[in-house]
């Protein structure tokens, strides 16, 4: 169990800069996910923590002890690769026993430990099988068993669920989460899948083009993103974006969203930092369709049923907005509706895209 700190880490491969001044603080026992589009440098962060790469600049600490130049084999971390990296010429038992054999574990303890881990992952019956004969999910479990069996200080996972069936992914996600809770091993999990990142993590870091965009608990990332890029990246329906002008009317500071004809009261401190202009972002589910009369009125232009949710495109005085509701309101296209906004969920950003 260990706290991992990355301090100003940069890494380039040839002329391509992959990570720029990345600083992270992963707490002891935390489940930490790094979410980002492909090519954002996620895997490189994992490889740096594992010791498979060395940073060009910056330092890495495990529990305050610098490990920047410590070889991978001396760090006592375990890494699950995207490919799982199982050994096809070894049996399942031999695969799981591999890290124990390296540690010269006595034969009887080795057998017992492998069996324990195997039963934990429900793969005891597969121990004598060969890897190529296993299904995707079984291989997954073998890889997790191999990573767990030697009680590493740090658990690193690089998109281990990619390529599995969706229903199965959820099951394994739950298992990974339970496993991490049970063992308390500090875990860094890399993925490009938001659902995976949010459902697993204690905290999430958003990575884009080698720069950390935001770090926080999943709800924070979603509701209070640190910048506009983060706000746009998370969520499965496009964000509603408006220009807002900041003004003071009768002693209260408010933002006026012209497209919606809406005034939103804001904190006075914001006014001084934004110089009269803000970008306003509203998530589709922050809009509500209401019976009673409201300020914002529109006509339903199109409708998309997503199963448990419905996404409407609504024309509000020539401006198209996206509204997401539960399936209780099924509104026909062409109908006029009243829309209310959950003001607490309105997000504001300055000209540079920083949250204010």
């Amino acid at each position: 169990m260990v706290r991992i700190v990355l301090d100003g880490v940069s890494k380039a491969f040839g002329r391509t800069t992959v990570l720029k001044d990345v600083s992270l603080d992963v707490k002891d026992g935390e489940f930490f996910t790094i979410l980002g589009p492909s090519g954002s440098g996620k895997t490189t962060i994992l490889r740096l923590i594992a010791g498979l790469e060395k940073p060009d600049r910056g330092s890495i600490y495990f529990d305050g002890e610098e490990v920047t130049n410590l070889p991978a084999k001396d760090r006592n971390v375990s890494m699950i690769f995207q490919s799982l990296a199982l050994y096809p010429h070894l049996t399942v038992f031999e695969n799981i026993a591999f890290p124990l054999k390296i540690r010269k574990t006595p034969e009887n303890i080795l057998k017992k430990t492998v069996k324990e881990v195997a039963s934990l992952l429900r793969i005891e019956h597969l121990l004598n099988r060969n890897v190529p004969s296993l299904s995707g999910g079984e291989r997954q479990r073998v890889a997790i068993a191999r990573a767990l069996v030697y009680r590493p200080r740090v658990f690193l996972m690089d998109e281990p669920l990619t390529g599995l069936e969706p229903s199965f992914r959820q099951e394994l996600r739950q298992e990974i989460k339970n496993m991490q809770r049970a063992t308390g091993i500090t875990t860094v999990y890399v993925t490009h899948d938001q659902l995976e990142a949010f459902s697993l993590a204690d905290r999430v870091a958003l990575l884009h083009e080698g720069v950390i965009q935001d770090v926080g608990e999943p709800w924070q990332i979603y509701e209070k993103p640190g910048n506009l890029w983060a706000a746009k990246f998370v969520g499965d329906t496009p964000l509603n974006l408006f220009d807002g002008s900041v003004s003071t009317v009768g002693g209260t500071v408010s933002v006026f969203i012209q497209e919606l004809g809406l005034h939103v009261t804001i904190d006075e401190a914001i006014k001084t930092s934004v110089n009269g202009y803000v970008r306003v972002a509203i998530r589709p589910e922050a809009f509500r369709v209401v019976e009673k009369d409201s300020r914002v009125k529109g006509v339903v232009v199109s409708r998309e049923v997503l199963g448990d949710r419905i996404v409407y495109i609504v024309d509000v005085g020539g401006c198209k907005i996206t509204v997401k509701t539960s399936v209780d309101h099924v509104i026909p296209v062409g109908e006029r509706i009243n829309i209310d906004v959950d003001r607490a969920r309105i997000m504001l950003f300055d000209r540079e895209g920083r949250a204010v």
């Binding site: 594992a50 010791g51 498979l52 070889p71 991978a72 084999k73 001396d74 760090r75 006592n76 971390v77 375990s78 890494m79 690769f81 490919s83 990296a85 199982l86 050994y87 096809p88 010429h89 070894l90 049996t91 031999e94 591999f98 890290p99 054999k101 390296i102 540690r103 060969n130 190529p132 004969s133 191999r146 030697y150 690193l156």
Partner: protein, 297 residues
């Protein structure tokens, strides 16, 4: 089967009949007959020659020599091949050049394997060097205890490149992330060698197949034992150089009393040799595929 298919296949079938089946059938036919010296042709004698074979002490001796020779040759070729492959991978530069150099024995005629390491070639020089450099007595190369291992090593010199190549291919195909995972799990390069590389090599089907193939080849080995029987002046039957093939050859050269060349007897032995080779190779491959291939799927 359609007529066109039969027509397309017919040259191949005809060739097989002429080149493979006919000599084989003739050999089996002859092994069951005796040549009548009065000129009336072949007389059927049934399993007489096979019976003779089973009663002949030279046959048993050669069989034993062949078995020992085969086991030692396979073992040393495999060992030498894997070792050179592992050493080659340590080279940072000149990898391709050395690899090609090591492959040259594969291209030479097998008889050269019996010449290169012989007393007139390398051996006498080596012997002199050892004698003068270390003040050791000359090594008596006519002693079977000395020359038999040299014969085996000559086979290994000829054939280890085959195992080296197969090993190189297997190791180069070893997944890179598998090595990184091993490193992350704390494996040193020694662990990677003993726990990953060697099992990958020894459990591969390619190696199993090569072992089976070369076992049969070594079992029929002729060139190197033939060359050495010259170097150590062992021209009579029953010498320690006499593998089954060499024994048959010697019988051809040393007619037994009265009946000329014992062609029927030779046919019987060669037929038996073929049958044994076929069965043994199949058994070896099956066994290896079961033990090693069980993991490979």
């Amino acid at each position: 089967m359609r007529l066109s298919a039969v027509l397309l296949f017919s040259p191949a079938i005809a060739l097989s009949i002429v080149a493979v089946l006919y000599p084989l059938a003739t050999s089996i036919y002859i092994s069951l007959h005796d040549l009548d010296t009065t000129g009336s042709g072949w007389i059927f004698v049934g399993l007489k020659h096979y019976n003779e074979m089973l009663l002949n002490r030279f046959f048993y001796q050669s069989l034993m020599i062949s078995v020992v020779y085969t086991v030692l040759s396979v073992f040393s070729s495999l060992l030498l091949g894997v070792l050179t492959a592992l050493l080659l991978r340590q080279l940072v530069r000149g990898h391709r050049f050395v690899e090609t150099l090591f492959m040259i024995p594969l291209a030479v005629s097998p008889i050269l394997g019996g010449i290169v390491w012989s007393p007139p070639a390398v051996w006498d020089d080596l012997n002199s060097f050892i004698h003068y450099a270390f003040r050791l007595p000359f090594i008596d190369v006519t002693d079977p205890v000395i020359y038999f291992p040299i014969m085996v090593l000559s086979e290994a010199w000829l054939w280890s490149p085959l195992f080296m190549l197969a090993t190189l291919v297997i190791l180069e195909g070893f997944p890179k992330d598998g090595l990184e995972a091993a490193e992350a799990m704390g494996a040193s390069s020694r662990h990677i060698l003993t726990m990953l590389y060697l099992p990958a090599v020894f459990r591969s089907r390619v190696i199993a197949m090569l072992v089976a193939l070369k076992s049969v080849d070594f079992f029929r080995s002729f060139e190197i034992p033939f060359a050495w029987s010259f170097w150590v002046r062992e021209s009579q039957l029953g010498a320690p150089t006499d593998t089954l093939s060499l024994m048959l050859f010697k019988m051809l050269l040393t007619p037994s009393t009265g009946s000329g060349i014992p062609i029927s007897y030779i046919s019987a032995v060669s037929t038996a040799l073929m049958a044994v080779s076929l069965v043994v190779s199949l058994l070896i491959y099956r066994q290896l595929a079961r033990i090693w291939g069980g993991v490979m799927g």
